[in-house]
């Protein structure tokens, strides 16, 4: 803790001491509003920026800066350009990419937002930026008993860290309940109900930083999937088999002392407030053959609701999860092929499926998606809206000879916002579908022919 604060102090000192970058001075932020939502363990921050080009040259892009701790936990950054007036606002998604700046002070991380059209001198543009932070709520006390509720720290800066001069800015922090133990006050700052307001602050220089710590109650389920492996197996016989291996943990304050099942059952409202025992997975519509099990067998606590738009699987791990406890389980289901497999105009086939984790409000530390293509598929390629690690593997399944190509997509730090469609293209000749039935038929044929031959062969040396 002390070390952490120490680092912040250094960061602040350095930020304040470094002169602003000349190149950044072409742009300034006229007005900024930031809303930080701390109600779950996934921190969502919405930035509304009004950016003005005060330089002489058109600016094609701008930078978003994040402190080193944030950049480490940053799951996603999205930016939208707002055009049009009040009622007829339209939002256009902008290209956002992580970038390196050679002279970044104190390992500041950057994302580069490219404008739709370069911003001419004197012009302004309104942007909406959403960024999502994971693992940014630090439990304090670190260990709690069953009857205590969970308190966490949130560290941030009262002013927006930016390489640009910010003329006016306000930050709103929303806490999950009215119970806020303490918060660093940087005038003007006040708290009303579930909201803490910092600002408005006027004319802050670039790289200004004002660390704040908010200590508040957060009993929302800190469901962290340490590792999720989703295997999507394509069968051209008509279905898509999805198998998901979860390694789940409770990422909140660690449980200490005993766990009393009796208290847990009878005094549910005051006992184990931060624990969770129910999870919700949003599965595709028309899902069938759903199972929920772990290494030692079926887990009987689950309900499935199927619908036209989505199916919901409500399930409980074998035991309620307290801070630091782990559980592993497997969810498997099948969906009809025609909903997800299409033929592209160039004759290739492509799978259109949802990336991410089906569990709601869950962080996935490491997500691996394995798309198992049918045997005989060629030229696989994956198309995703963000960067992931890709590799190819070979898997042998039922009666395979050459093996099935597996497209492995791997991404760290995945949040529900990553649940967007992705595509895997490949070429496949339908004749390969008949390979395995043909093999079986010929094997049986061979057996019968062999037995026929055996019956008619006389292997006796001497005639009887």
């Amino acid at each position: 803790m002390a070390a952490r604060i120490g680092i912040f102090a250094v960061v602040v000192a350095v930020f304040l001491s470094i002169p602003a970058f000349s190149s950044a001075q072409d742009l300034q932020i006229v007005n900024a509003e930031r809303r930080i939502d701390l109600s779950s363990h996934i921190v969502k921050a919405f930035l509304t920026l009004k950016v003005e080009n005060i330089g002489k040259n058109p600016a094609a892009e701008m930078l978003l800066a994040f402190s080193p701790t944030q950049i480490k936990n940053l799951a996603m950054v999205q930016a939208l350009a707002i055009t049009g007036k009040k009622k007829k606002k339209t939002y256009l998604p902008l290209d956002v990419k992580p970038t390196e700046q050679p002279d970044a002070p104190n390992d500041t991380g950057y994302y580069r937002v490219t404008f739709i059209s370069p911003l001419g001198p004197g012009e302004t543009v309104s942007l909406e930026v959403l960024y999502i932070l994971t693992h940014s709520l630090e439990p304090f006390p670190v260990e709690i008993t069953q009857s205590e509720s969970q308190l966490v720290y949130y560290h941030d800066s009262a002013v927006i860290l930016s390489p640009y001069h910010v003329k006016q800015q306000t930050t709103f922090v929303k806490t999950p309940s009215t119970r806020v133990e303490s918060f660093t006050s940087i005038e003007p700052a006040n708290r009303a109900g579930k909201e803490i307001k910092y600002g408005p602050y006027e004319n802050r220089a670039s790289y200004s930083y004002a660390p704040v710590i908010i200590h508040f109650e957060n009993n929302s389920p800190f469901a962290v999937v340490e590792e999720l492996v989703r295997e999507i197996e394509i069968s051209h016989w008509g279905s898509l088999q999805i198998t998901e291996h979860y390694r789940l943990t409770h990422g909140g304050a660690r449980h200490k002392d005993v766990f009393s099942r009796v208290d847990y059952q009878s005094k549910r409202s005051v006992s184990g407030a931060s624990s969770f025992n129910a999870l919700l997975a949003v599965l595709p519509p028309r899902v069938n053959s759903v199972y929920y099990r772990d290494d030692i067998g079926n887990i009987s606590t689950s309900h499935l609701r199927t619908g036209f738009r989505k199916s919901e699987l409500e399930f409980e791990p074998r035991y309620p999860l307290f801070g630091g406890w782990r559980a592993t389980f497997i969810i498997g289901y099948r969906v009809p092929l025609e909903d997800y497999l299409f033929e592209a105009s160039d004759g290739r086939r492509y799978l259109n499926f949802t990336f991410g984790c089906p569990l709601v409000e869950t962080i996935v530390n490491k997500l691996t998606i394995k798309v198992v293509l049918p045997e005989g598929s060629k030229d696989p390629s994956a198309v995703l809206p963000f960067t992931v690690n890709q590799e190819l593997q070979v898997k042998y399944s039922y009666l395979d000879i050459v093996g099935r190509t597996v497209v492995v997509l791997q991404k760290d730090n995945v949040v529900p916002t990553h649940n967007v469609p992705f595509q895997v293209y490949y070429t496949f000749k339908p004749i390969y579908m008949l390979a395995e039935p043909f093999m079986l038929v010929s094997a049986f044929f061979f057996v019968f022919v062999a037995s026929l031959a055996y019956v008619h062969i006389d292997l006796n040396i001497a005639r009887k």
Binding site: I296, G297, I299, S300, R318, Y319, R326, S397, Y398
Partner: protein
């Protein structure tokens, strides 16, 4: 005359009927296999595909180890996750047959790229081997009384509740493959006895080897076969075929058995095996006598007999003296505790509480006979009678088998399993004979009134054929039997005796038509009753996996999955090297499901260790803490069923903990844990 005129067409017709009968038999056998497999799937359908109970979890864990590390690692496996801090040499103390079988199946499937998990293979091993056991029963009974009886016996075995109780899907225990091995060994013995073929004798030794690998019950084989050999010799039925059936089995079988680490030199050193060696000597003496008798004149032979008998007496005396000395040098007389409790049913309860505390080592009650073999109990006597007409080497064997297994099943409830195949074979024979007589009579009565003597001759041929080989109408009868099962007990017993006589008198005695029809219907009703009982037993009584409990109440089905909840918690939330103490019942499950080191488990090889845990469980907190601390225990697993009313919890077992603890540590006294003054309770 008519018959003489057309011998050629008649021959083709018979050939066709034989061919048709064979195809039908094969079809029926396939259906029997499907039946045997599918009747055992109730547990998967009603619950889930999961390993059951206690010992199967250990076998499952061993199979996992085998499939992961290979056979050599398996033989050398020293398991340090159990019996902490002693450990256990798994490779040398386990019957490897089941594990190797399932491991091989898994390996073959995976090398064909059929990615079934080890668990799936383990779950379905028992049903698959039940189908094999049914087919083995068919072969055995066919050798004894023809294929009609074989099919009937196979059907009965496919669904006999006693066997189902040990071989439902998920019941991954030694008995699952051992019963198949047992029946198949007996089949090969009978086959060798009937053919005198060395080929079958060798196969027999291999089958015996597989049985030794699979189950400690192999001693039943190695005592039963010598007994039968002795019986044959005593009743003057010695033949070279008997010699070929027996001598290679003892030599090869003993050598092979000694290869199994868990048996090793026990194959020649313990009393369970001595009977076979004794009979081995006797059969050689007898063979020698027959040989000498053949080359000597009767007068010379008499002289030789006196000579040999006097020398033989001396040799026998010396051998017996050596044996007695050997046996006397071992404290239990060379018999293991379980074997001793077989000979003396009160032995265990007197000396070994740990054997006595296991419910499956108790003597069975009468209702359990009805539960486990049902109507077969009534058919068996009829089958025995049928076996005596005429008595052959093979039928005398099955008679001996049923007699011995009835005795053993009376001692220990788990040996009911050995009785079940014998009962099925006997009942199959009885039913087949009864059907023979009844259908024969009906045919004769109908044919006699409408057709010529030609038909009568045909029918009279039929039963004769049946006795020796497969028969078409036999097969047809069995179809009826299979779909409905057989007859009525009291009704058929009187009917059966006539059948025996009728056979002996070569069709002279034929039953009236009405009697036959009624008897047939009653037999079919009896069979239907058996089927209903078996399906009920398979579905309701024997399918619960016991790790997940269900209860039906007004507001629906309740599932109690608390065992796996605790094992899963241990598995995911404790350190991998933590030691978990629990009563020994949960040892196998804890190591297999939670992968944590346990102090004691269901392999109760160290009584002191179990007593230590029992003492800790029955001591006050401070003393218990000290005991557990000395064993590095970090977690104690106890089962309390008081809240939901689960009866077999640790409170229920508490007296056994006290007794077993007190057996080694005298400061634990059972009386201290009992309420002496009951009046105190009532006030």
């Amino acid at each position: 005359m008519a018959a003489l005129e057309s011998p050629q067409p008649a021959a083709t017709a018979t050939a066709m009927r034989h061919a048709f009968g064979n195809v039908l038999s094969v079809l029926i056998l396939v259906l029997i296999g499907v039946l045997a497999f599918s009747i055992r799937l109730f547990s998967v359908i009603k619950y889930e595909s999961v390993i059951h109970e206690f010992d199967p979890y250990f076998n499952y864990r061993v199979t996992q180890f085998l499939s992961k590390n290979g056979i050599y690692e398996f033989w050398n496996w020293f398991d340090d996750r159990t019996w902490y801090p002693l450990g256990r040499v798994i490779g040398g103390t386990v019957y490897p047959g089941l594990t190797l079988t399932a491991g091989t199946i898994w390996w073959v499937l995976n090398s064909l790229n059929i990615p079934l998990s080890v668990e799936t293979v383990c779950v379905f091993t028992a049903p698959v081997f039940s189908a094999f056991a049914s087919w083995a029963t068919y072969l055995l009974t066919k050798e004894v009384k023809g294929s009609g009886a074989g099919l009937a016996a196979a059907v009965l075995l496919a669904m006999v509740p006693s066997y189902i109780s040990r071989s439902v899907a998920g019941s991954y225990d030694n008995e699952a493959v051992a019963i198949f091995a047992l029946i198949f060994t007996f089949y090969l013995y009978i086959k060798t006895l009937n053919t005198g073929s060395l080929f079958y004798a060798t196969l027999n030794a291999l089958a015996y080897f597989y049985m030794v690998c699979s189950w400690g019950g192999y001693t039943f084989i190695i005592n039963l076969i010598p007994m039968h050999v002795l019986l044959c010799i005593v009743t003057g039925r010695y033949s070279p075929r008997l010699y070929i059936a027996y001598a290679p089995l003892v030599v090869l079988g003993t050598l092979l058995a000694a290869l199994v680490p868990v048996v090793g030199f026990n194959a020649v050193l313990t009393s369970e095996h001595f009977a076979s060696f004794l009979v081995f000597i006797i059969i050689h003496v007898v063979a020698l006598v027959y040989y000498i008798k053949g080359i000597l004149t009767p007068k010379m032979f008499k002289v030789a007999v006196t000579l040999v008998v006097s020398i033989g007496m001396v040799v026998c005396f010396i051998v017996v003296a050596i044996l007695v000395a050997l046996v006397a040098s071992s404290p239990t007389g060379g018999w293991s505790g379980r074997s001793l409790s077989l000979l003396d049913p009160t032995y265990a309860s007197k000396y070994i509480p740990i054997i006595a505390s296991v419910s499956e080592h108790q003597p069975p009650t009468w209702p359990s006979y009805f539960m486990d073999i049902n109507v077969l109990a009534f058919l068996v006597p009829a089958g025995i009678i049928a076996c005596f007409s005429p008595l052959s080497d093979s039928s005398s064997f099955v008679v001996l088998y049923i007699v011995m297994s009835v005795y053993f099943s009376g001692v220990m409830v788990r040996l009911m399993l050995v009785l079940a195949p014998a009962a099925c074979i006997m009942s199959g024979i009885a039913l087949s004979q009864a059907f023979d007589v009844f259908t024969g009579s009906i045919k004769y009565q109908l044919g006699g009134s409408s057709k010529s003597t030609d038909d009568a001759e045909d029918t009279s041929n039929a039963p004769k054929d049946d006795a020796s080989a497969g028969k078409t109408d036999k097969g047809e009868e069995i179809v009826k039997e299979r779909s409905s099962k057989k007859g009525k007990k009291k009704e058929r017993e009187p009917a059966d005796k006539p059948s025996v006589k009728s056979k002996a008198k070569k069709k002279a005695l034929v039953l009236p038509l009405e009697t036959s029809v009624v008897a047939l219907l009653l037999l079919i009703m009896l069979g239907a009753f058996y089927v209903i009982h078996c399906v009920w037993a398979a579905a309701e009584a024997y399918s619960a996996p016991s790790i997940v409990l269900t209860s039906q109440s007004r507001d629906g089905l309740h599932v109690f999955d608390d065992f796996r909840e605790s094992y899963a918690w241990l598995s995911h939330n404790t350190d991998v090297d933590d030691k978990v103490a629990s009563w020994w019942d949960y040892g196998y499950q804890t190591t297999a499901m939670a992968n944590r080191t346990v102090i004691v488990d269901n392999n109760t090889w160290n009584n002191t260790h179990i007593a230590t845990v029992g003492t800790a469980m029955s001591s006050p907190e401070k003393a218990a803490w000290e005991i557990f601390n000395s064993l590095d225990v970090k977690y104690v697993l106890v089962v309390f069923g008081g809240l939901i009313g689960y009866p077999s919890d640790d409170i229920n077992k508490f007296l056994w903990m006290v007794r077993i603890g007190g057996g080694v540590f005298p400061h634990i006294k059972e009386a201290d844990y009992l309420t002496l003054n009951l009046n105190l309770v009532t006030y």
